[in-house]
């Protein structure tokens, strides 16, 4: 199934009952376990198709609106098929609405945040999963506890800090507060607990490798699939992050979501331009989901089961 690439917690408990069932000679039981309940009937397909359409339609319609001219968008009934102006509208959004600069900024911000989150989460996740040290459980509880604190509550002091540092309206103001993620640490810990055999770490110790060496030559190769998934998920979040960038950046140096708000703020609303901007800002992530959809789905599902 899709969880294959990430042998994390999700699969582990599922396997044992199946083995036990076959031991009892219940072949039918085993097959049902493998099939996970029943086959889908026609009704299930219809309902899922409706849900898929509802999920995709707003984006499809973004494309439709971005490809027509302004007067056509504002007619009733609204257009349902793409028009001829897609590329000219995209080009206008890129130039006029600062979307070009915003895309490059978002690429930098999301790239740096995702890289640093993955690196630090793997380091800490490895320590929490396989190294023994005093206060390990207490510190892990602290990591989980920090997930419950919404970042929005800290914006006022954070804004003052950035003013002090001279980072207002600049990308470091957006990058630094999100360099690490508690969810990432927890995710990598779950993965490495399952995927990294204790014997490998021990063997490295016997060979006289120090911890950092073990991290680079033993942990990293094994952690790579989970790191890739964490990178993509963090990238999506950083690309789409709204509140703090909106507070600290302005239109001279925006990220994509900040630039999009400005598009809608004009008194004369150019609907096709707005939709072209929204489409442009979403395209990189959509492309990523189309290419790596399987990995992202399995990553989200692997991180799901927790106590």
């Amino acid at each position: 199934m899709t969880t294959q690439s990430l042998p994390a917690r999700t699969d582990a408990p599922a396997r044992t009952p199946a083995v036990r069932a076959s031991g009892r000679g219940g072949r039918r039981l085993l097959r049902q376990r493998a099939g996970r309940q029943h086959h889908a009937g026609p009704l299930a397909y219809v309902l899922l198709a409706i849900m898929a359409i509802l999920s995709i339609f707003p984006l499809y319609w973004t494309m439709v609106a971005a490809s027509t001219d302004n007067t056509r968008v504002s007619q009733t009934p609204p257009p349902f098929l793409p028009g001829p102006n897609l590329f000219s509208n995209l080009a206008r959004a890129w130039d006029e609405a600062a979307m070009g600069k915003a895309m490059i900024n978002s690429l930098i911000v999301a790239g740096v945040i995702a890289l640093s989150t993955v690196l630090f989460a793997t380091l800490a996740g490895f320590a929490f999963a396989k190294l023994r040290f005093k206060g390990r459980n207490a510190l892990l509880m602290l990591v989980i506890g920090t997930m419950m604190v919404p970042p929005q509550l800290a914006v006022v002091p954070l804004f003052m800090m950035m003013a002090d540092l001279g980072w207002s309206q600049q990308l470091p103001a957006v990058i630094f507060p999100t360099l690490v993620s508690a969810v990432g640490v927890f995710f990598m810990r779950q993965y490495l607990t399952e995927a990294l055999p204790d014997e490998l770490v021990e063997a490295g110790r016997v060979d006289g490798a120090h911890s950092l060496r073990i991290f680079f030559s033993i942990v990293l190769p094994i952690a790579r699939p989970a790191m890739a998934v964490l990178f993509m998920i963090t990238f999506v979040h950083a690309w789409n992050d709204f509140f703090w960038p909106f507070v600290v950046l302005d239109m001279t140096n925006p990220t994509v979501p900040v630039a999009l708000t400005q598009l809608s703020a004009g008194y004369v609303r150019d609907q096709s331009l707005i939709m072209a901007g929204a489409l442009l800002g979403t395209l990189p992530l959509l492309a990523m989901f189309i290419v790596f959809g399987r990995q992202i789905v399995s990553g989200i599902m692997a991180g799901a089961v927790k106590g």
Binding site: F133, P150, K306
Partner: protein, 331 residues
């Protein structure tokens, strides 16, 4: 102390390799010391970056928020802080905009969270069937998650447009009068909730699906031997089986609901956005926080709103705990 276990390695001697020693076992001793330092210190060094950055950019600001909330601070002169004790809190308590924002945050939170999680549950159940194209359906359900708040809110603002929006056109075609989705309170809150529901239902469905797949098959087998229908199996096996995941999603959605900001801001189309409509009909606490700080330039009052949001969150979880305890006592 735990140090005693590693002592034999260095032969019980104080671990202080003097640079002048040229004895044959000095490098070995130095190596042993290095090894011990590595074993003891490396774990802390590995988890340190997370805690240092979290402390600097999350924990410290969070605490500092409460200190600022006891002062008057203007946006233009951030380093001038005037002590006013609890004045900001008293003013907030007497401010009808605060109670309005609190009410809107709660109602939008309920309208967006309850249907979202129920639909996600149904969707996960469907995705859990054995079927063709299951990967397509899963990726499709995640497409909204890949869309930013900003892009999603812009599209839905157009779909809910009063004069040429698709929803009013569809309503009109079945003979229902057009709804003013922005200016009227409840329609606006429903439209904003729709954006939240659209973005997060598929994501939650995948979390539920992962938990459902971990339920042992023999529980279903036992239930069907007892003559349970599929619906009864869903209620008595599936839902209890994924209980901890349901709690987890409720916690996440509740936190998200108290922080709601981008959806109402963009739905209000820029200039009106911060006030949450002409009559504040959909202003949330998040918007009020921003309005106080960055439109009225009162950072102290903004911090007070942030602290009130935090207390709201704490209150929700205390109530949830109490309800849970009462319920387990009665049953």
């Amino acid at each position: 102390m735990a140090t005693s276990t590693t002592k034999p390695l260095t032969g019980g001697e104080p671990p202080r390799p003097s640079p002048g020693t040229s004895g044959g076992d000095a490098p070995r001793r130095r190596g042993a010391l290095w090894h011990r330092l590595d074993i003891k210190g490396a774990p802390y060094a590995f988890v340190a970056p997370f805690f240092i950055i979290f402390a600097a950019f999350s924990f410290y600001p969070l605490i500092y928020t409460s200190w600022i909330s006891l002062h008057d601070v203007e946006l233009a002169t951030l380093d001038v802080m005037e002590w006013v004790a609890f004045d900001n809190y008293v003013e907030l308590w007497g401010d009808s905009r605060f109670w309005n924002a609190l009410q809107n945050t709660i109602t939008i939170g309920v309208i967006s969270t309850v249907p979202q999680l129920l639909m996600a549950l149904g969707m996960a159940h469907l995705l859990n069937y054995r079927m063709r194209a299951s990967l397509f359906f899963r990726v499709a359900s995640l497409v909204p998650y890949a869309t930013s708040v900003a892009a999603a809110a812009l599209v839905f603002t157009m779909i809910f447009e009063r004069d040429f929006g698709m929803i009013n056109w569809a309503l009109g075609s079945v003979g229902i009068d057009p709804v003013d989705w922005e200016a009227d309170k409840w329609p606006a809150q429903i439209a904003i909730s729709t954006i939240v529901i659209w973005r997060w239902t598929g994501y939650n469905a995948l979390l539920y699906l992962a938990a459902m797949q971990a339920i042992p098959a023999d529980r279903y087998e036992a239930a069907s031997l007892d003559g349970a229908t599929r619906w009864q199996q869903f209620i008595h096996v599936t839902v209890p089986g994924i209980r901890s995941t349901i709690v987890f999603t409720i916690v996440l959605s509740t936190i998200g609901a108290t922080q709601l900001f981008g959806e109402p801001l963009i739905f209000g189309q820029g200039p009106n956005g911060v006030t949450g409509g002409a009559d504040n009909q959909y202003q949330t606490l998040g918007l009020l926080l921003y309005e106080e700080g960055w439109k009225n330039y009162q950072m102290g009052r903004s911090a007070t709103v942030a602290w009130a949001m935090f207390m709201l969150l704490v209150l929700v979880f205390v109530v949830q705990r109490v309800v849970k305890r009462l319920r387990s006592r009665t049953s």
